[in-house]
Every structure is written in structure tokens, then in C-alpha cells.
Amino acid sequence: MLIYVLRTLAKMAITLVVIVTLVFFATRLSGNPIDFVLGDGITLEDRELLIAYYGLDASIGTQYWRYLVSVFSGEFGLSFLERRPVSQIVLERAWPSLKLLLSAIGFTLIVSVPLGILAAIYRTSIIGSVVMVIAFLGYAVPAFIIGILLVLIFGYTLNWLPVIGDGSALHFIMPTLAISGMLVAAITRFTRNAMLDVLSQDYMRTARAKGLPEWIVILKHGLRNASITLLSVIGLQIAGLAASGSVVVEAIFAWPGIGDLLVRSAILRDYPVLQFGVLSVAIVVIVINATVDIAYAYADPRIRLAKG
């Protein structure tokens, strides 16, 4: 198990270095930074001065080395607009986003896993069909439609819920629902399919023949096995959500999160912020993936023991 964890972490580190490198070269491809920073009204001498100041006269190798050194020592530069360290700006925004993400994940798991199990057990009856129709609808309706409908109903017409910001617990309800819609639908379907596979296995019959009550058979023997398949799917979905899913919803609800920050800095061409923001999101995705890999091995002894 320890070797497996170390191997997963090593793979994670390699991926990280590759991404950091890609970000560096991708930014260089987008043109000369000086042109963006100062525009046209500048003398040739000042221009030379600035190029020397930013170290842009050094070779690309030297620049890359300096970049690596500062990235790994935690210096990511200053925002063009706010003149504050970008790490500070992004970290301020990361926490609200993370809170929203966690709330959406929690809600999704609480709702979709039981629904999926129900849909699998009652697959031939009306209950199963109803669950699957709802899940299908959720899959078909994009997050921003759900968000706008929620705002219309609960914010504008009924005036029950606050629409803008993250001030209180009530503020979380609508963005959470908007983000979770698709996720609930997806995970419900995957839970159902994974449970259907498991329900027909021989060991389920063994468990019943032992005289175990049905709920133990389903939850202990069934769900434990289904969770192996589920974990990888949930991991992928959450990683996807962390990478891009919340940008639109954060914009709708004026959520002071990282998605909102990324959109704004892209529009205003605040490259240091954008660069660090992308990097942070990438790190989150990598960490989620590594966590899922390790959880996967924990759930399935065949992987855990086979891989040391």
C-alpha cells in the first residue's frame, strides 16, 4: 500500500512539473509582455530598460530557470492591475470556490447515491423509472438554465433566497443546486448501473443465504463493491467541476470565487493572475485525481495488495 501511495504521489509530482512548464511556454507564445503592459506610448530607451528590468533579454533557458525557481519558492509576481502578489489575490478567491465545491459535492453524494441504489433495486417498478427520468432531465439541462430558473423563482418572484454573494448559509442554496444538477444526474445513473452489475453477482446470493437482512446485503456487500466503480467516476466528475464547471454559476450569482476571478482577469488581460489561477486549478485537479487513485486502492484490496 505504501509503495502504491508513493508511486501515485510521484506521478502527481511529474504531472505538476509538466503543467508548470506548459504554462510557461504557452504564455511566451502569446507575444511580448511589454506590449501588453505599456502599450505604444513609450520611448525606445525606456522599452530597453523595462526589458532588462523584467529579465526578458536573457535566453529562454535562463528565463525558464528563473521562472521555475520563483514558482517553487512561492513567488508568482504581482497583478498588473492591483499591484499585489497574485498568490494573495487567488488564495482570497480560492476559499469561497472551495466551499461552494464542497457543498455541491456533499449535496450530490447525499442525494444521488441513495437515489441510484433505489433505482437499481426497483428497476422494474415505477420508482426506478421516475428516478431515471428525473436524472435524465438533470443531465439534459445546463447549469446556467437551472441557475437562472432558480433566481427567477426563489429570488425574483418569491423573494425567499438571496441572489448575490456568499454572505450567509442561505446564499449557498441556489448556487449549490445549480452546480449539482448535472452532477446528481450523472452520479445517480452511474450508481444505478454499478449497483445493477453488483446485484447479480454470486456473492450477493451467498450473503442472502447466510441469512443477512436485505439492507445489510445491499449496503455492506453491494455498495462496497459498487463504490469501486463509482469512485473513479465521481473523481473524474469532481475534477471536471473544479476545472471549469463553476465558472458560469459563479458569474450568475456574483460568487467571489476563482472562476469569477479567472474570467475577469482574462477579459482585463491581467496575465500574472490568469497564469497563477490556471496553475492553482490544475493543482487542485491533480490533487483530486491522486486522492481518488489512493481511495480506489483503499476500496479494492485486489489493487491494494497487487501493487504493494
Binding site: K11, R205, R208, A209, K210, G211, N225, D300
Partner: protein
Amino acid sequence: MTGPVLSVQDLRISFGTHEAVKGLSFDIHARETLALVGESGSGKSATALSILRLIEREGGTIGSGRILLDDGDATRDLRTLDGGQLTRLRGNAISMVFQEPMTSLNPVLRIGDQVAEVFIRHRNLDRRQALKAAQEALDQVRIPEPARRLDQYPHELSGGLRQRVMIAMALACRPKLLICDEPTTALDVTTQADILSLIKALQTEIGMGVLFITHDMGVVAEMADRVVVLRHGEKVEEATVQDLFDRPQAGYSKKLMAATPKLGTGSSTKTAGTDIVLQVDRLSTRFAARPGLFSRDAGGVLAVNDVSIQVARGETLGLVGESGCGKSTLARSILRLIEPESGTVLLDGKPLTGSSKAQLRQSRKEAQMIFQDPYASLNPRLPVHELITEPARIHGLVSRRDQKDLAAQLVARVGLETDAVDRFAHQFSGGQRQRLSIARALSAAPKLIIADEAVSALDVSIARQITDLMLELQERDGLAFLFISHDIAVVERVSHRIAVMYKGEIVETGPAGQLLAAPSHAYTRRLLTAVPSGIPARRHMPAPGPAAETAPLTLSA
């Protein structure tokens, strides 16, 4: 004598509109073993699952009849009990051991927890006490190092050990009735002998009645006191085991007995030719250990170790050995489906080893394979005429236009109706599918056919028909066969010579009759004594020893 533990009266079970069991009645007394015998589809397993009232889960319904269980306090009709009462009985007064030890245990739970569950549920023990009881239960079924097994997962145990765990679970609460549904069918003959004697010993100890379901008359002779022969859901005969074997009354019982291969009945083969078709010299195949991003090759496992065999035209070489000994790996290495490490293979005088990809493909035409599972080895999406002529197409032996004619010839040769060519594989029974597999192999007009456990998944009478077909084809076309099986009795019937494989090596080779009559290697002798004699009076009842200390090397090919 007190009344029966279990009394089944006029039981009727149906799946949808199909009636699987039609008015079956039988009694089982304490300390008695009743064998329920019949071929697949005869309603044996449906009967067993009805007694546990688990048949409803498999989509069946009990139409009528009574299932009376005497659990010591009272006699109750299991059909009238509700869910809660049933869960208290299952695993407690009645328990069951299933056919497939590889899939019947939960892969993600520790052995200890799975056994302890029964004690927690039925004996109200807490987890610590239950684990202790579980360890004793594992010890009772003679599993070596029971304490260590508690923390292991099913995939770490061999099939035989897993079946012992199943038995430990079933007998944990000392049931009145134990149902065994083909408990040894998936096991090697040596393991089978161990498990059978274990069940008998524990029956003496606990005194339960046993309902033993099997299709193997050899096992019946070994285990049963009384036998109920079942066909199409109806009882065709009920007799004591001695009477059934001495004087079978029903025609079907006689047929079943005749189809059961018995060791020592000789071979039905004709004389073989002399020119060598397959010559294998010092072949070795190694499986690398755990290839991975950060791990180094740690030497690996020698699955086939320095094997030399030859097969002549018109000859069948039988290859026997227990699962994991390397039989299938050898077969695949010969055709270079797995790359061997060293050694040479000559097929019809042409080298397979060391030849180029193109030459190899050309040579493979001369050797075709038939696999064990006729359900998985035929492509479900191809119509039969494309399916069975595919090898011929690949080797350019037939044009697209003549494909259907060739298919018609082939199905006729393997004894199927001509209209079979337009159907799909799923429309055939297991035996018919195996005929299609043979037809497919024949389409390339090979000199050698490698049959890897080709009849192991079939009922005895069907298996008999398939081996008869192979013998017939051999006689007519002079085909050479490499016949791989763990069933020595079947191998004896079809083989000229037999090679015994053990842990990757051929330990003994010789003419079939001679090798079986006077085995020279200790392993061959052990293998032979484990085969059920098929004669009730000659039961062997070896003292139940501990299970093999180390599980046989299992290799996944």
C-alpha cells in the same frame, strides 16, 4: 427413527411460463445425504434455491407444494414464512454451499469478516467474539493458519481454500440441513477429493442432512446414501445409491450412467500414424513479475518449464494436470499466442519459433484451437456462416462467394442441420456451440487441433457426443489432437498417449493404458487416487487431513 429434517412435497417451480420443476417430492433425514442428479436445465439448482426461498430473487416462482423443515423445535412450511423468519433460518438451520468458489465470496471484504457475519447475525456475538468463532470455524474445515486467513481477502486464496471458507460459513451455526450445489465442479480432482471427504467428516460430526446436487455420477457414488434422478423437472427415479448403480431402473438413469466417463475403461482411439505433426523441444515460458512504472523485473514465474512433447498424425496426446499447472500456457506458447522464452516448436516440419510474423501467420493455419467456454468463444454478432469460415477467409482458402457453401459442408461434418448457417451463436445450446467451435477450427483444414478443456463446461452426455465427434473426425481426416483437460477419465477415452503436467513441467508421458495402469511419478499416482471410482462400494474415505499448505500456483494467462 424420527421424521425427516426436510420434506419436499409436490414442489412446482416456474420461470415465467416455463415450468422448471414439476411436482417434485423427496425427504432428507438427519445424517443422510440425498443426491439430486440431472443435467443442466433439469431443475436441480432451482429446487435448491426454492428451499432457501431465494428462487424469487432469480425470477422464479413456487407454484405449489410444501417445503417442510424440522428445525428441532417445530416443523414449519417454509412457503408460509415471512421475510424476517426466513432470514433467521438461512445460514442458521439451513445453509448452502455454491458451485463457484471464485465468485461466491465478496472480493472486498476480509475472510474473517465474512465468516464472522454469520455469528454476529445468528449468535448475537460482538465483532471480537465473532472473529474468534470465525477462526475456530476455519480451523474446523482444516484451513491451515486460520488466524492469518482472517485478515486475507478471497483473491489471496486458491479455489479449494475458498470452498473451505464457504463450507465454514455454511456450517458455522451447525445447521440441520446443508445444501451443496455442485460444490466441487469447479475444482481440480485432487481438491475435489479433499472437499468431499471434508463434507462427509463434518456431517458425521454435526449430524446434518445433506442435499447434494451434482451432475457427476462419480461424485454421487462417492457421497450419496440415496439418489433422486431428475430430468426436465421430473423425478425419473429414486433409489439407494447401491441399487441405482447396480440396477438402474429408468432408461434415463442408464443413459446417464453410460455417458459418465469412468477411469480404467480404456481408450476408444484407432491406431495413430507415425509422421510427426507437432514437435516441441525444451519449451519454456516465463511470466514477468509485476511490470510497472517503478518496478524492476524480479525474475517472474516459469509457467512452462523445459517441456518437450510430440504429436503424430492421427494421434491424440492428452495433457492432464490441475488448474494453474501451465496447461493452457503451454498450448498458447506452442502457437506463440504467448511468446515463449526458449525452446523450439516445429509444426508440420516448419519452425514456429524464430519465424517472422508473416511466416507465423501462415503456419498457424495448420493448428487451430478450441476453447473451454462455448458461450464466450463465439462472436455473438456474426452469423454462423461467417463465424465458422473466418479462419478460412483469413488464410485466403475460400472466396466470399463460396463462403456459404463451405459453411454448409462444415456444419454437416459436425452434425448440425444445414439451416444452422443463417443463425447466430446465441440460438444454439452449449453442445451445439462447441460443435460450431470445432467447425470453425476445421475450416482452415488444419493438421493439429488444440482442444483446451473443450468439454469441461458441458453435461456428461453432451461431452460424450463431442468427444465422439472428435474421434470420428480424427479417424476420417487423420487429425492430430492436443487434448487438454483436468478430467482424467475423459482424457483416457480419447487419448493415445497422456502427458502429466505439474507446476510447469511434464512429469510423465506414456501410452494411455500403460500410464494409468502403472504410473511411475508420485504426482500421477496422487492424481489417480483422487479420481472418484464411480462405484459406491469402493468409496475411499481418507482421513481428512489439512488442506495443502501452499495453494497451487495460479497463473492468469
